[in-house]
Structure formats: C-alpha cells, structure tokens
C-alpha cells in the first residue's frame, strides 16, 4: 500500500533522464550550429575569394611576364648608331657525365667528330670522371647545336647564355675594349663604363661613341697598309674634331679581335694611342713657335736666327738633317724642320713659360680622355734647364701619347682653346668638355699658313691631298734603346690639320720603327713613310666629313712666303 503508484509519480531517475536528454539535445544543436557556421564560413570565404579572383585576379591565359628586351649588358654604338658591341644569346654546349645513359665510348667518338678540338680519349676521360659539368663550347654554331641535340643524349647540356659580340671584329678594338668570360669590362670603353653598362636602369640605352665607323675603317686600313709596307712593329692614329674634341677615329696597330681577346698577344692589347708615350720629335716645333709668338718672342715669321752647321750648348751638340749654315727665318726653320733654329727659339722662350704652356695644353699630365688606359708622360721634371728647354722645343726629352699631340694640334688650330678629348658623342646628352684658352686667336690664325707651307714646300709634301688643303708637320724621332738613341729605330709621326683655310679636323698618325724600302730611297723619315698615309686617308674621309675639295682655295700664304729664301 505504501508503494507509490507508478502511473502518477514519475520515477526520479526518469525525470533526471528527461532533463539530461534536453541538455544533450541543446548541446548537439549548438555543435551542429557551430559546424554549420564553420562550413558556411569556409564556403563563404572560398566564394568570396572566387569572386575576388574573378573580378580582380589574373586570368588563366596570362603569360609569365613580357619578354624582357633589356640586354644583360648595354650596347656600344658608333655616332651613327652602328653597333660596335652587343650582347646576344649564344648557345653553350656542356657535358654532364653523371646524366649520360648511352654508351660512353660511342658518345666520345661522336663528340670527337663534332668538336674536333679534343680527341676521343679526352672526351672519354671527361665522361668517366666524376665531375658534374664541363664546358665544351661557348658560342656554338646553330648547326653544331642541332647536331648535338640529334644525339639525344640527356648528358649533353645545351643552354643559352648572354654573350658579348663585336660585330665589326677588330674595328676600333682599342676604343671599345673587350670583356672577360664573366662579362666584366677589361679594356677600353667596356672597362671605363663597366658600371653604366651593367646598371639595370641605364643598360637599355646604348653608349653612343664619337667614333665614326667608316672613318675608323679608312684610317685602320691605310695605316695597316703602311705598317705592312714599311715593316713597322706598330702604328697609331687619331682623327679628332678640333672644335668639340670628339675623337672620330682612334686606332692602335697591331690590334686584337675582341671576340677572342684571350688569343691576342700583349703587343696587340697595348694601346699605343693613349697608353704608349713616345718622343714625337719635330711635330713639337709648331708648339714652340706658337708659344714664342704668344709670348712676344717672335714678332713675325721673317724674324731671323743664326743657323750654323751645328749648335753647341752645355756640352751637347744639336744637329740638323738639312743644315742651313746661314741666317734663316722662322718660316724657313719650320719648312726645313731645323732643330738648331727651334732650339734657339725655345731658349729665348725659357723653361718657365715653356712649362706653363705645356701644362695648359695638358702635356704634363695623363691624357684627358674617358679610357683608363692612359700613359704617364715623361718630362725632364725637376731638371728642366736650358738644354732641356731647347730639346723639348723640338720634341726630344719629352714623351707624350699620340692623343696628347692630337689634342695639342686641336688647341693650336681651333682658335687657341684647349678642350679635352672625348670618346662620347657630343650632343644634348653629353656636352663638350670645359675649355680654356692657351694661345691667342691671332697666333692660331697665323700658324695655319706656316703649317700649310710645310706641306706645300717643306718636308711634308707627300701628305698633301689635292684640294683638301692639308697642313701639318712631320716628325722623326730616334728611339731611346738602353739609354742611347738608336739611329735605326725611329718613331715617325705626322700631325696634320685639314682644311687649312678653315681648320676642322686634326689627324695624327705614327709608325713605330718603320724600315726603309726601295721606294723611299733608303730613308725612314716621316716625310717618306707616314705622310702618304695622311694623304690617302684624307682623300678618303674628307668627302664623308663634308669637306669639299677645292683647288682654288688656300690659307693666306702671303704671311710666310716672303720669308722663304728660294734655293736651287
């Protein structure tokens, strides 16, 4: 009876059960909701991402980026835009011995057939060695690449690699220079502007040189022909615009092929035009006369000097090749290239003023040009006394580069203003160098007639190109060998300017140790071997430079002709 009726009273366990279930349900609802939110969120994120990509993202067909046309290293072009140095994609052939799957002996045999620079044994040794990579050929030809590809050997590596190419080969090799295997500039412009050529911001634009390829070619050809004819060991030539200081051509022979610079001899790598210093002899005499005129020592070309057979000064004797043995005028001294006369003029000028002028012309420092191959000039230095002044007056005892001489002649004939030489084209991107006055305009004007006289009547007759009014001065200097001047080793130079009635271009050519031939009647002086180079080159290049030949035009020779004593 005490027992409770089950129908009316729920058992407490049961009640507890119901409460528990409700709790569990709520929890499950919570979890489900959480999971659903999680999935919903993920789906929403993915959907949003998709919408984002569809609206702003890249499309599937997009290329991996535009073809980059900027070369690995900047181009070098001449003033007309013809390429002198370029970077191209060249094929290289490599060998990875570890990846070779075929018969190594067969492969070695085939390689020896395709690339005969090594024999099969060498190739087999390579294949059997443990090294991971061999360079077999750089700058391989497309036919070779095709043949090697046809071998079907995975161990042969064919890759493209930027390579420096000089399309004109040896043309202006010493100006352009060359690079080493890693593409680093080793000489010339390649070395001087290495940073600029490699700079990613600037390498897209080529370096424009002042060189004109056609003029360079004419100079190199004529100079090379003379060098062969007279068996000279070397030669150098410079052609320069006297007003802007731009070098239109500069060469040094023998020259190397910059495409294979490693094969060039040290002699071929040596730049005689800017690195080699030479005693350039009589080509200095016009400077001495101009200095004396500027300083007031020479009043007119008719001023007379005593020109004996030989001049004895301070225990040394100065000789002439054509001694006058009489009194001679300044015009005659220049015409016959008299050392004795010039020495006296230099003596009157004195060492102080001489040094001052030479410094202003930049002859006492390294030549001012962009290249890094620049020679240190040799001067008397602290021992610059009377005899040194006299010898420097006619170009001995001072050694400068041919480029110095060209700059000096440009200074003398452009109105007397020194301007540093430049290898970069002068235009709106690159201004001409800062100039300063060295000679007066009047001196510069009067010198025209004097140097024209040398070519029309004096030692430089063979340099005349009919109609182009070439003026200039020959120079033959003996080389100092072991402390003594060797009479059979000379450096012959001609420094010329054209057209002389309105000077525009200067040209300096030099032959190192020319030998006499039958045609020169045994002479090895400049008038015989190097002057004809000037004549030939000028008649080739002057029309290109816009200089019109005119046989009726001449500089005012009335300045000098009255003072030349006609001999029979």
């Amino acid at each position: 009876m005490n027992a409770p009726t089950p129908a009316l009273v729920a058992r407490p366990e049961r009640l507890r059960l119901v409460g528990q279930r409700r709790q569990v349900l709520a929890l499950m609802h919570q979890r489900l909701m959480f999971g659903m939110l999680l999935f919903g969120g993920i789906i929403a994120i993915i959907a949003l991402r998709l919408i984002w990509l569809a609206a702003f993202g890249d499309h599937a067909g997009r290329k991996g980026g535009l073809v980059d046309l900027t070369p690995e290293r900047g181009d070098i072009v001449d003033r007309d835009g013809h390429a002198l140095a370029r970077t191209i994609d060249a094929w290289i052939v490599g060998l990875q011995p570890g990846k070779v799957i075929g018969n190594k002996l067969d492969l070695a045999r085939k390689l020896a057939q395709l690339m005969p620079e090594k024999d099969e044994v060498a190739y087999l040794q390579m294949l059997r060695s443990g090294r991971s990579f061999y360079y077999l050929r750089r700058r391989a030809s497309p036919s070779l690449v095709a043949a090697i590809n046809a071998l079907g050997e995975p161990g042969m590596a064919l890759q493209r690699e930027p390579d420096r190419l000089y399309p004109q080969l040896g043309l202006a090799a010493h100006v352009v220079g060359f690079t080493d295997v890693d593409g680093k500039g080793n000489a010339g412009i390649e070395r001087a502007f290495d940073e600029r050529l490699r700079d990613p911001q600037q390498r897209g634009r080529p370096i424009v040189l002042s060189i004109n390829s056609r003029i360079q070619q004419a100079l190199e050809h004529e100079l090379g022909a003379a060098m062969t004819t007279y068996s000279a060991i070397g030669a150098a030539g410079v052609i320069m615009d006297i007003h802007s200081g731009e070098l239109l051509a500069m060469t040094s022979l023998p020259q190397l092929n910059p495409n294979a610079a490693g094969q060039g001899s040290p002699e071929a790598r040596f730049n005689r035009a800017t690195l080699g210093v030479y005693e350039l002899g009589s080509t200095f005499k016009p400077f001495t006369v101009a200095m004396a005129m500027d300083a007031g020592v020479i009043k007119s070309f008719g001023q007379m000097y005593n020109c004996p057979q030989a001049l004895h000064v301070a225990g040394r004797t100065i000789n002439d090749t054509h001694p006058f043995g009489r009194a001679c005028s300044v015009a005659e001294i220049m015409k016959e290239s008299s050392n004795i006369g010039t020495a006296q003029i230099a003596d009157q000028l004195g060492p102080t003023r001489q040094k001052q002028f030479l410094r202003k012309m930049g002859f006492l420092d390294k030549v001012n040009v962009e290249l890094k191959e620049r020679g240190r000039t040799l001067t008397p230095g602290s021992q610059w006394n009377q005899i040194e002044t006299m010898t420097v007056g006619y170009g001995h005892g001072i050694a400068v580069t041919p480029l110095h001489l060209a700059t000096g002649y440009a200074t003398l004939f452009n109105g007397g203003i020194y301007r540093p030489a430049t290898l970069l084209k002068v235009d709106k991107n690159h201004a001409a160098g800062q100039g300063h006055r060295v000679f007066s305009e009047d001196t510069s004007y009067k010198m025209r007639a004097l140097l024209r006289l040398v070519v029309t009547e004096g030692t430089g007759r063979k340099a005349d190109a009919p109609g182009y009014r070439v003026g200039g001065k020959t120079g033959t200097a003996e080389k100092l060998v072991g402390g003594h001047y060797a009479s059979n080793k000379v450096v012959t130079t001609f420094a010329g300017v054209f057209p002389m009635d309105e000077p525009r271009y200067v040209m300096v050519v030099m032959l190192d140790e020319p030998q006499p031939t039958a045609e020169t009647f045994g002479f090895r002086t400049a008038g015989w071997n190097v002057a004809p180079v000037v004549s030939k080159t000028v008649s080739r290049i002057a029309p290109m430079l816009g200089v019109r030949p005119d046989k009726r035009r001449e500089p005012n020779l009335a300045e000098v002709l009255p003072f030349v004593h006609k001999e029979h």
């Binding site: 919408i51 569809a54 609206a55 499309h59 067909g61 997009r62 290329k63 535009l66 073809v67 046309l69 013809h82 390429a83 370029r86 191209i88 190419l165 399309p167 004109q168 080969l169 040896g170 043309l171 390829s213 056609r214 360079q216 070619q217 190199e220 050809h221 009919p466 109609g467 182009y468 008649s539 080739r540 029309p543 019109r548 030949p549 005119d550 046989k551």
Partner: protein, 232 residues
C-alpha cells in the same frame, strides 16, 4: 503567400543575373587584356628577332670585309678633287651631245651604184638576206666609192648596157665582152657583185664564198654565178 514566395525567387534571380553580368564584363575585360598582352609579346619577340638579324647583317657586312672585297675585286677609289663639280651648270658642261654615227657615206654609195639598175630596186629591198653578205663593212663600201674613179674609162660599157638594164642578162654580157681588159674587168666585177646580187636569191653559202673570193679568181666566180642566175 505564393506571391511573396515568388517575389523572393525573383529577387534571387535578378541578383544572380546581375552578378553573372558583372562577372561576364570582368571576363570580357580580362580576355581583352590577354589579347593585348599577347600582341605586346609578339611585338617584343619581333623586336628581338630584328635585333638578332641586324646583328647578323652587321657582322656579315662588316666594314673590314667590305674593304677586303673592295681591294680585291671592286677596286673603288676615293674621288679626286677634279671629280667634284660646283653645280648643275658645271655638270651640264661635262655632258656633250652624243655624236651621230656617220651613216651618210654608205647611203650615198648605194645610190651611186643602183643608178644603173633602178628598176631592180624592189628586188634589192625585197631580199635583204642576200644583200647582207656583200657589204663586208664600212671600209668595203668606201673602197667601192673610190673605185668609181677608175670606173670612168670603162664607163662606156655600163652606158652601152644601160638600154638593156631592165634585164640582168645583158649586163652580164657586157663584162664578158670586155674580159680582154683585165683592169676594167675587176672594176666592173665589183660593180656587178653589188647589183647582180639582188637579182636572184642565191644560197647564202655561195654568196659567202663569192664574198671571200680573192680578186684574181673573181672573173671565174662571177661567170659561174651569172650562169646560175640564168638558170633561176
């Protein structure tokens, strides 16, 4: 209720349509951009090829190579000062009008010869193939002209034959009669060769032989030829 439910469907549809439209616009833009990029890539590749070809042409046509060809084969030299002219006028003075070739003399000669046989003129022009072998050159014609002077002594014979000039045979008989005078014969022979030739179309080989025949055997050849003429 149905209207409300339908409204929401409409809403959903229009929203979906708008989203799709936006997406399509975006897709269109993207595809246009892709095409543009492809064109740009093609331009860049073409420029790279141009550069490559320029380098190759430059290398093959390098100045040193041209110079070598010039020295060996072309042999061009720099112009000399005299080759430059001051202007158009000076240039014009250098160009003289071309001289006309002197073709008058043969014409005069032909008329002098044909004078005797004017009726046969059509035969001469009608068969140029046979006329050709006779004149061996301008000098030949000049010779004939000069022979006209020695012809004067024998002028009687051509004169005599003139009345029968209409036929070739009498002209032949004339020289046959005068065979006694050798000099006269040679003179008339040349006259005959010139005028007899157009008369009959001979085989060209014969004509050539006659042309090349020396003066000594001239008489015989003419006679033979005359016979042939008669046959034709």
């Amino acid at each position: 209720m149905s209207a409300r439910g339908f409204g929401s469907v409409l809403w959903a549809g229009s929203v979906a349509g708008a989203a799709l439209g936006f997406y399509l616009v975006s897709l269109n833009v993207a595809s246009e951009r892709a095409e543009l990029e492809e064109v740009e890539t093609r331009i860049a590749l073409a420029q790279r090829d141009i550069r490559l070809l320029q380098t190759e042409i430059g290398t093959r046509g390098r100045l040193a190579q041209l110079e070598r060809w010039n020295v060996k084969f072309i042999r061009l030299a720099a112009p000399t000062a005299d080759q430059f002219v001051d202007g158009g006028f000076q240039l014009a003075t250098l160009v003289a009008p071309p001289k006309k070739p002197a073709i008058d003399a043969p014409v005069v000669l032909a008329s002098a010869q044909v004078e005797q046989a004017i009726p046969q003129q059509p035969g001469l022009t009608g068969d140029p193939a046979d006329v050709r072998p006779i004149p061996r050159g301008a000098s030949d014609m000049v010779h004939v002209a000069s022979y006209s002077l020695p012809e004067r002594p024998a002028a009687a014979k051509p004169l005599a034959s003139r009345p029968v000039a209409g036929k070739p045979v009498p002209t032949n008989s004339g020289p046959a009669n005068s065979s006694a005078d050798k000099k006269a014969a040679t003179a008339t022979k040349s006259a005959k060769t010139a005028m007899a030739d157009p008369l009959a179309p001979l085989p060209s080989a014969k004509a050539k032989a006659k042309g090349g025949a020396p003066a000594a055997s001239a008489g015989a050849t003419t006679q033979k030829r005359m016979r042939k003429d008669g046959d034709d």
